[in-house]
């Protein structure tokens, strides 16, 4: 089982490092562009939510991403130590049929994660929020 992990602080500045980390791993695993795209998307949505909403103005929060390759699947495990928040339950489901006028701005991050993964799960582990996203290979 191949895996890689990265630790980052809760600042937007760290996103570039996370992007480079995912790129390097996708390269090494020879993943398709589509899978690489999905990993980037899910990592960004989780990270930005933790930075902006979870840790709010704290820049010294801890973020951890682990990528795991299995024969027929990939997993991205995201962890932070921000206050308990289950986005899969708490984030409102956007109305994706509303017209441009009616449509609310925002609230698409968690929705995109759900759409782009085969499975996404949340659990609280002590002081940690743990999000797991699985993708078909």
């Amino acid at each position: 089982m191949d895996f890689a992990e990265i630790e980052a602080r809760s600042t937007i500045e760290e996103i570039d490092r996370i992007v480079a980390f995912i790129d390097a791993w996708c390269e090494a695993q020879a993943l398709s562009d589509e899978l690489r795209f999905k990993l980037h998307l899910v990592a960004e949505e989780f990270s930005m939510n933790a930075i902006m909403h979870g840790y709010r103005d704290r820049e010294d929060g801890w973020i951890h991403i682990r990528l795991v390759a299995k024969p027929d699947a990939l997993s991205l495990i995201f962890q932070d130590e921000a206050p308990l928040f289950d986005p899969l339950v708490e984030a409102a489901t956007p109305d994706v049929t509303a017209s441009v006028e009616e449509r609310q701005v925002g609230g698409l991050g968690v929705h995109l994660v759900k759409e782009m993964t085969r499975f996404v799960g949340y659990r609280r582990d002590g002081q940690r929020n743990v999000l797991t996203a699985d993708f078909d290979r």
Binding site: L41, E45, V100, L112
Partner: protein, 114 residues
Amino acid sequence: MTLTINEENRDTVLVVSVSGRLDGVTSKTLDTHIGARIAGGSDRIVLNLSGVDYISSFGLRLVLVAAKKLNGPGRRFVVCGLKDNVRQVFSVSGFLSILTLTDTVDEAASAASS
């Protein structure tokens, strides 16, 4: 990362062509840029995304904000050139049915000038 914003006036239409990643930071940058254009009087805008390989929810946000600002009589907002991954993000968010989309810049410019 590299974000490139290229602009070209085609009669009454401003074609804004973007290359790069539309993430949390660059989407805000582009949002400001397009917002300044709209405030400055550009009321028919084509957003050409044929150079965009990556878009997240922040990119969708800027697209929706522009579409809302340019919604109304005499105003046009047309998006063109979606790559496959970008198209999928638009699709699952319902954007394919609420926005005016075309394949090419030419089609977009003519849709925006009508």
